[in-house]
């Protein structure tokens, strides 16, 4: 049985990362933007796991767990902030949450 080459995983994670960046830049709903960031972090996790598998070392796995912890904490804080935004403005469109200009 032939193995899937390492470079495929790395390419996949790079593609996922770019998709996340594109989602962040072009989507207008705050929740969707937030999900795009999570996609970026998961792409990073895939890179870590790939390298960890290739190098047969465990600290890439560890880093991936820490990234997950941070992503969860970020989601908790982020959703709380998004809730207050919705309560005060009644909208989740990112273009409407832009009152500080001069």
């Amino acid at each position: 049985m032939t193995e899937v080459p390492i470079s495929w995983f790395l390419t996949l994670s790079a593609v996922l990362f770019v998709l996340g960046v594109a989602g962040f830049l072009f989507r207008r709903n705050i929740i969707t933007v937030f999900m795009s960031i999570e996609l970026m972090l998961n792409a990073v996790n895939l890179t870590f796991i790939t390298f960890s598998y290739q190098l047969k070392r465990v600290n890439g796995h560890l880093f991936a767990f820490f990234v997950m912890v941070v992503a969860a904490a970020e989601a908790a804080v982020g959703l709380a902030i998004i809730l207050t935004i919705f309560k005060n403005r009644g909208t989740l469109n990112i273009d409407d949450v832009d009152s500080m200009k001069n």
């Binding site: 990073v44 970020e74 982020g78």
Partner: protein, 489 residues
């Protein structure tokens, strides 16, 4: 198998442990002992104790280093390194956190959002900063950064019913998380090259690769996005004016001073560690970024009418000056950054504290009109603000001159004459917009007569910042010697 948690390990992280424990104690006591909102200012005792223990631990670490004749002490198998650099930056965080905590209660009471967890968040953010200044492992640095950033997202949005505060929080959160995504992608590539997350091993792996290696370049580019965002360098500065304007002014002061100092420490750890051998690659990039940062900061500040926004753009331009020290890259330049960060802490804290005092019942107090005629109303505040602004502009005999002097000196020593000239020209622009505030204070008539919102803590903090801003400028030797201890390498 080595021991899991030795006394050396403990010794290297004790300040952060103290801060986290006292932060938890504050959350608990706020809930159980001080249900009455008027008693919440007694939580300051816990902050003072935490900072006292942290300061003592830092002092003991310094003592240990001098007693054993070592330059650094590593714990956790090289994940945390206590050295002069980390200790120096941590003293800055201790002072900034203490000053911010002391001035906050009056401001938060007026804003109607005086909650105990505010003081806990200050300490949690500071324990994140501890790991940013002392971490020498990608995981430690990442967790430290996120601990600091997450607490700041909450603090920026602390005024829950205020639309501007919400908006500032969501902008800071989204852009902050976006940039740390880039940063951690860069970290994953560094790990892939080295097979280890230790900065020293990563540095060795990068040194063995060719100078223009594409993987090194990609890692450098993505990591730089995250780092430059954190110090609010152009073109990743967009969050700063909004976050600074919308956040409670006390949080703005903490964000502008401590968060920026910690991010500069982080940036130096990365650029002087793993990426040092690729200096030829990043030097031109960082020069362009520094010039762009000074341009954006100084030119955009000219038209601002909101003082917090103006100071936000000014703090962007200061980040540009600090980057110039890294571009020069010799000992004078790196030492110059340490001096600059120290000086910047006191003068910028002072300037924001005056804005804190302008917030009174039913008066937001952030506009240039609100500070008009301050000289006739409260001359003490006006004179102090004048000192801080002169220092921010870099005019002797204030401390700000000293910071800029070493940066420009290092640029000239390393032959970056164009950068030195550009930097000097922007000082002239900066004088123009700082004097807009001065003119408003001294020449214009005041529009309202409400007295400044003072408190004992605020007066003390202003006095300390004012005295230090002048003292560093007039008698710099002891402060320079302190900054000398912070040299990396």
């Amino acid at each position: 198998m080595s021991q899991f948690y030795t006394s050396t390990d403990h010794f290297t992280i004790i300040p952060a442990v103290m801060l986290a424990l006292f932060g938890c104690a504050i959350l608990l006591f706020d809930f159980l002992v001080f249900p009455d909102p008027r008693q919440r200012k007694y939580l300051l005792i816990f902050v003072a104790l935490a900072e006292g223990f942290t300061g003592y631990a830092l002092y003991r670490q310094t003592e240990w280093l001098t007693a054993n004749g070592q330059t650094s002490l590593t714990g956790f198998g090289g994940s945390v390194t206590v050295d002069g650099f980390g200790i120096f930056f941590n003293w800055i965080f201790v002072i900034a956190a203490m000053i911010v905590a002391v001035v906050s209660y009056k401001y938060l009471e007026i804003s109607g959002e005086h909650h105990g967890e505010y003081y806990g968040l200050i300490l949690f953010a500071q324990s994140g900063m501890y790991f940013l200044a002392t971490g020498t492992d990608l995981i430690t640095l990442f967790i430290g950064l996120e601990l600091m950033a997450l607490t700041f997202y909450v603090m920026v949005g602390f005024l829950r019913t205020d639309k501007r505060s919400n908006e500032a929080a969501i902008k800071y959160l989204l852009l902050g998380a976006f940039s740390s995504g880039f940063l951690v992608y860069g970290f994953s590539l560094m790990y892939g090259m080295a097979g280890s997350t230790k900065l020293a091993v990563v540095a060795e792996a990068i040194r063995q690769r060719p100078l223009w290696d594409p993987v090194v370049f990609l890692a450098l580019a993505t990591t730089s996005v995250g780092l430059l965002f954190k110090i609010s360098a152009a073109p990743f500065h967009m969050w700063a004016p909004d976050a600074y304007e919308g956040a409670p002014t006390t949080v703005t002061a903490y964000l502008a001073v401590a968060s920026k100092a910690a991010s500069i420490a982080f940036l130096l750890r990365i650029f002087m560690g793993p990426f040092w051998s690729a200096k030829e690659v990043w030097e031109p990039i960082l020069s362009v970024v520094a010039v762009l940062t000074m341009t954006v900061g100084n030119l955009a500040a000219i038209n601002q009418t909101n003082i917090k926004r103006l100071l936000a753009y000014s703090s962007i331009s200061h980040a540009g000056y600090m980057l110039l020290g890294l571009v020069a890259g010799n000992d004078t330049g790196i030492n110059g950054i340490a001096v600059y960060v120290m000086v910047y802490t006191f003068m910028n804290l002072g300037a924001f504290l005056v804005v804190v005092a302008l917030r009174r019942q039913n008066i937001i107090g952030e506009d240039l009109d609100d500070i008009a005629g301050l000289m006739s109303r409260s001359p003490g505040y006006a004179v102090l603000m004048l000192i801080f602004l002169l220092s921010l502009a870099g005019i002797p005999p204030t401390a700000g001159f000293l910071g800029k002097y070493y940066i420009f000196l290092s640029l000239i020593q390393t032959g970056h004459f164009t950068l030195a000239v550009i930097g000097t020209l922007y000082v002239a622009v900066a004088i123009y917009y700082y004097f807009k505030i001065v003119r408003s204070m001294f020449i214009r008539e005041s529009t309202e007569k409400a007295p400044m919102a003072t408190s004992a803590g605020l007066r003390l903090a202003l006095g300390v910042s004012g005295v230090l801003t002048l003292a560093i400028g007039v008698y710099p030797e002891p402060f320079l010697r302190l900054a000398q201890t912070s040299l990396l390498r």
